[in-house]
Amino acid sequence: MRPAGRAELESLYFTYPQFDAPRDRASLSKEIPVAIAGAGPVGMTAALTLARYGIPSVLLEKKSTFNDGSRAICVARSSYNLFQRLGIEKPFLDKGLPWVSGRSFFRGRQILEFFMADSPDEKYRPMYNLEQQYIEAFLYDAVAKSDLIDMRWQSEVTGVADKADGVTLSIEDPHGTYKLPAQWLLAADGAHSPIRTMRGYRLNGENYEGRYVIADIRLERDCKVERFALFDPDSRPGGTVLIHQQPDNIWRIDYQLRDGEAEKKALQEDAIRAGVAAALSEVGFNEPWELEWWSVYSANTLLLDDYRDGRVFFIGDSAHIVPIFGVRGLNNGFTDAHNIGWKLGYVLNGQADPAILDSYTPERRGATLDVFKNASKSARFMTPHSRGYRVMRDAALSLALDHPFAGEFANPRNMTPYTYAASPLTQRLMLPENGGPVPGAAAPNVQLEDGFLFDRLGPDFTLLAFGEIPGLDLRQRDLGMLTLLQQPAEGPVARAYCAGQGGAYLIRPDLHVAARWPHADGSKIAEFMKQVLAGGARPND
């Protein structure tokens, strides 16, 4: 919602462009390898990933501009690494506000300062705050530059019918209706996904009780970028308040509604202004401010049982809704899009068997369940659902005033990448722990004399080899797309990966470790690669 007197898209800092429906009607119904419903951040990331593999796609968006309703702001390092894979990281780096730490307060006294993992080996900071409008605008700039992406605004998918080897979409735009045959459909059409409904699926899971007002304001203040969490502040007894800084002097204030506080009344402009003013006085922000936008939110953990339905894949919010605490909603959506994107790219280029696509649900649904586990811990601290959890939360907060250990319960446990341990594409771990990343884990970045390890990875799979690997012949068919990255057996990369002479790691296009060998040889690697590209097998070492 916007303050009285301002139009729906009249922002204090962002100009929403208006995009027309396609005028050239000649080839609208030409069959396409991949159709993507929804040009939000997830749909656009999927299109950009496919384009990276040379795959054309059609992006269908019902609206005529970027999202105004959904408001992600925290973009995690893993997403920046992914943007780098797509070659689009620069505007995100230029505009995003990096941050590494946050502070929590109980009744005005600091009980926790947390620091997210960071080191000189990381190219990007753990988190960047960036308004979703900019996220979409930067992705759209890249989409518009790509010859492979056919972006169709004001184009609504009104039907999906299965056909042999694909689906036929019914599309409606201001100029008429038409059919669009596609080999594959990615449903990136959001939390209320019409495609999910058309296919007869629904999200399953739980709703949490706590309701939050989320409000954006403009306020000029020069200070360190960090996250504030206020528990039981004088301005909102019994409630919690979260404060994040965003670019363009925009601040996000989230505050919890009281049990029984009527939502309609709480969302009226004067109530919002009073709630925001109280939160600001609590943290000593005395500067004048303007109200930009507000909404209401309650935490849910909802997901689909299967992210795939024949030729349709669900990505982002259409597949899962996660609580805001821990900033995993959009970040996991980006990963969904990239995950299915590279796999479809391989299949459509004839480099992998379609069976590889069956790894999408276990990998990404597994990640969602892991998010639920962590986010639920945060949610039950922020908005306890029972007397027992309320008593323990209160016990932890009051102890934390004098005992720092108890403040850790208030740590938001922000996004960390999920390990694809049970994926059919992951090497069965039969090796003793060596301290290096396990198969399925996110590969660690390493600072080199000139740049970072990730800057040197190939566009596809990369074999990170320490010293000489016997019998390795990259002309072999199964190794055709492999980039060989040779590193000294003693050096920063070997140390980070706990590898020695003759060891090797196989790194996937999405920066997860597929396999590792303490003593690699060409035939083992070729055999493993062959099985990965065959998709279904759970390869043995």
């Binding site: 008593v391 209160d394 016990a395 009051s398 102890l399």
Partner: protein
């Protein structure tokens, strides 16, 4: 070395519950357990003991007439 006995622990808890009052006694006991658990490196044992405290949650029956 230690001079306090289990009897002292017993009365410290009783005094704490009385001082907290019925409204705050759960909070007081929860804080007590968290503090003790934080100093016990065997977290498995702590969880086991907490679970065993859930057994037989019956004290003496009230003998008041009202």
């Amino acid at each position: 070395m230690t001079e306090k006995t289990m009897e002292d622990v017993y009365s410290a808890l009783a005094d704490g519950i009385d001082a907290a009052g019925p409204e705050k006694e759960a909070l007081f006991l929860a804080k007590t357990v968290l503090l003790l658990a934080n100093e016990n490196p065997d977290t498995d044992r702590v969880c086991e003991l907490i679970r065993s405290a859930c057994d037989n949650l019956d004290g003496m029956r009230s003998n008041s007439t009202s």
